[in-house]
C-alpha cells in the first residue's frame, strides 16, 4: 500500500518532467516565454501553498516578497556584477529572511487581520521602493536589458551542445527551479513537519496542547513561503529584464492568492492549474472583450462564481473525480 501511494505521485512527476523537457521543441518562442512565466508563478504559489494550505495563514502580500527577491537580483546584477543565476538563491535567502522576520510579529495576527496587514504591506511596497531611491533606483527602477550578467540576453547560450536563445533558456531555468522547488516542498511537508503544519491549520489550540511549537512552525512557514516568492521574483526580474516599483503591484499579490485558491490547496495539479490561471486569465479575459476594464469584470465574476461552484478549487474537483472513480472501480470490482 505504501509503495502504491508514493508510486503514483512519483510517476506523475517524472511524466511531468519529461513533458516539460520536450515542450519547447514544439512551441513558438513566445509561447515558451509564456510558459516560463507559468513556472515562475508556480514557484510563488508552491510557497504560498505551504503558508496558506498548510498553516492556514492568509497572505495578501506575497507580491511584496517577490519584489524583495526581484530587487535583490536586480541590484546584485546591475550594481555588483553578479551573474544572474547566482543571484537567485541569494534573492530567495533575502526574501526568506524578510518573511521569517515578518512571521514573528505576524504570530499575533490571525485570519482576517493577517490578511489585512499583508494587504497593507503590499500596497505600501511601491511607495517604499520609490522613497529609497539611492538603493532602488526610485521611480525609474533598474534596467537589466543587455547587461552581460544576464545569461543569453545578447548571444544564445550553449547547453549540452545545443544553442538556446533567451526565451527557451528562461523556460528551462524556470521550470527546472519549479520542479526542484516542488520536490523540496513535498519532502518538507511529508512526515513530521507536514503533520505539524497541518495540525496548526486545523486547530491551533489542539496543536499547541499536543506539544507542537506553534511559533516555530508558523514563522518557518512564512520564511519558506517568502523564500519561494523571492526566487520567483528573482526569475521575474530576469525574465522582464527590468524592475521598478510598479513591477510588483498589489494586483500581483492578489493574483497569487487567487491562484492558490483557484488551484486548490495541496495537489500539484491544482498548483499548476493555479499558475496557468494567473498567467492566462488576463489574456483570456481580453478574448471576451477588448474594452478596458472588461477583463477585470470577467476575472472578478469568474472568481466569485468559482467560490460558489468550486470552493476547493481545481484540486477539489480533481479530488472529487478521484473519489468518484474509486467508488465506481470498487463497485464494479465487487
Amino acid at each position: 500500500m505504501r509503495l502504491g501511494r508514493t508510486l503514483v505521485p512519483v510517476v506523475s512527476f517524472v511524466v511531468l518532467a519529461a513533458v516539460v523537457a520536450v515542450v519547447p521543441s514544439f512551441v513558438s518562442e513566445f509561447r515558451a516565454q509564456e510558459l516560463a512565466y507559468v513556472a515562475i508563478y508556480l514557484i510563488a504559489i508552491i510557497g504560498l501553498n505551504v503558508l496558506t494550505g498548510y498553516t492556514g495563514q492568509i497572505s495578501l502580500g506575497h507580491g511584496a516578497f517577490m519584489a524583495v527577491g526581484g530587487y535583490t537580483t536586480a541590484i546584485l546584477m546591475a550594481d555588483h556584477g553578479v551573474k544572474d543565476i547566482w543571484t537567485i538563491p541569494l534573492a530567495g535567502l533575502v526574501a526568506g529572511t524578510a518573511g521569517f522576520l515578518f512571521g514573528i510579529p505576524a504570530l499575533r495576527l490571525s485570519g482576517l487581520y493577517l490578511a489585512l496587514a499583508t494587504f497593507a504591506i503590499a500596497v505600501s511596497m511601491p511607495a517604499v521602493l520609490k522613497r529609497f531611491e539611492g538603493f532602488t533606483g526610485g521611480g525609474t527602477g533598474i534596467n537589466l536589458f543587455g547587461i552581460p550578467e544576464l545569461t543569453a540576453s545578447l548571444t544564445p547560450v550553449e547547453i549540452l551542445g545545443r544553442e538556446v536563445a533567451f526565451n527557451d533558456w528562461l523556460y528551462y531555468l524556470s521550470w527546472s527551479i519549479a520542479l526542484v522547488g516542488y520536490v523540496v516542498a513535498w519532502l518538507l511537508l511529508r512526515g513530521r513537519s507536514g503533520r505539524a503544519l497541518r495540525a496548526v491549520r486545523d486547530s491551533e489550540t489542539a496543536a499547541q496542547s499536543s506539544g507542537v511549537s506553534l511559533a516555530r512552525y508558523k514563522t518557518l512557514a512564512f520564511g519558506v513561503s517568502a523564500a519561494y516568492a523571492g526566487v520567483a521574483g528573482s526569475l521575474f526580474a530576469i525574465a522582464t529584464t527590468y524592475v521598478n516599483p510598479d513591477t510588483f503591484p498589489i494586483a500581483l499579490s492578489i493574483l497569487l492568492l487567487v491562484g492558490v485558491v483557484v488551484g486548490g490547496l495541496g495537489s500539484l495539479v491544482g498548483l499548476i492549474a493555479g499558475a496557468v490561471f494567473i498567467q492566462f486569465l488576463p489574456t483570456w479575459s481580453q478574448e471576451v472583450s477588448k474594452s478596458p476594464g472588461a477583463p477585470s469584470v470577467v476575472s472578478g465574476a469568474l472568481l466569485i462564481a468559482l467560490m460558489f461552484v468550486l470552493p476547493m478549487g481545481v484540486a477539489g474537483l480533481v479530488e472529487r473525480l478521484r473519489l468518484l472513480t474509486r467508488r465506481i472501480y470498487h463497485r464494479s470490482g465487487s
Binding site: I250, G293, A294
Partner: protein
Amino acid sequence: MADFLQQVVAGLASGSIYASLALALVLIHRATGVINFAQGEMATLSTYIAWTLTANHGWGYWPAFAFTLAVSFLGGAAVHQTIIRPNEKGSVLRVVIVTIGLLILINGLVTWIWGGEVRAVDSPFPAGTTEIAGVAITTADIGTIAVVLATVALLWGLFQYTKLGLAMRAAAVNPAEARLVGVRVTWMLSLGWGLAAALGAVAGMLAAPSVFLDPNLMAALLIYAFAAAVLGGIDSPIGAVVGGLTLGVGLNLIGTYVDFVGADLRLPVALLVILVVLLVKPTGIFGKAEVRRV
C-alpha cells in the same frame, strides 16, 4: 500657530472622510465578521454614479447625492443577500476571496463603463475661506466635516432610538438570540451592508473633488480607512470615527512637519499604524477583547 491650526482642521476634514469609510468597514465587520476588501471600490462606483448624474444628466449636486445614497444602500444590501450570505458559512479564506473578487469586478466595471481617465470634479461647497478665531479655514473643509458629522449623528439616532436600530444591534452581537425574539437576522445584516455602502458613498463623494475621480480613487483611502478602523477598534463605531479623525490629523501633521515622510510616505505610515496597533493592542482604542471559543 495659525498654520498649525489650519493643518489640524484640514486633517479633521480628511479624517472625517476616513472616518466615514472606516465606519462602513466596522459596521460590516461587527455584523457579519467580514472585512470587506471591496468597500473602497463600491464607494468609487457610487461616486461615479453621482458624478454622471450631475455632469451628464444635469442633476443638482444634492439631489444626486441623495439618490446615490439610496442606490448605494440598495446595492450594498443586494450584494450581501446574493454574494456574501451563501459564503458566510465557508472558511475565512473563501470570504476573503469573494470580497476580493468583488473588488476586481467593480474596479473593472467602473473602468469599462466610464473609462480610465482622471477627471476633475466640482466641489459642492463654495470656494474660499472663512475666518474662525483668526484662522482661515476653507469652506470645503468645514462642509466636509459637517456632512460626515450629520451622517454619523443620523446613524447614531437610528441605532440608539429606533426599534429597527435596536434589532440591527441585537442581530450583530447575538444573532441566535435575536432570532428567538423574532428578529429577521439575515435582513438586518443586509441592512447593515446597505448602510455601509451608503457611508462609503459619502466618503467617496466628499473625497472626489480633492483627490480627482478615477477608477483607483479609493484604493489609498481604503488603507487609511482600515488604519482608522483598526486604530479605533474594528468592532467599535465610535472607534471608527475617533480613529478616522485622529489618523487624519496625525497624518497631516506628520506629513507637514516631518520631512522624511513628506507626501509620499503617508501610506506606509498608515500601514505602520495598522501593524503597530495589531501587535500592541489588537482590539484598538475602544475595542473589547475577543473571547474565542476553544
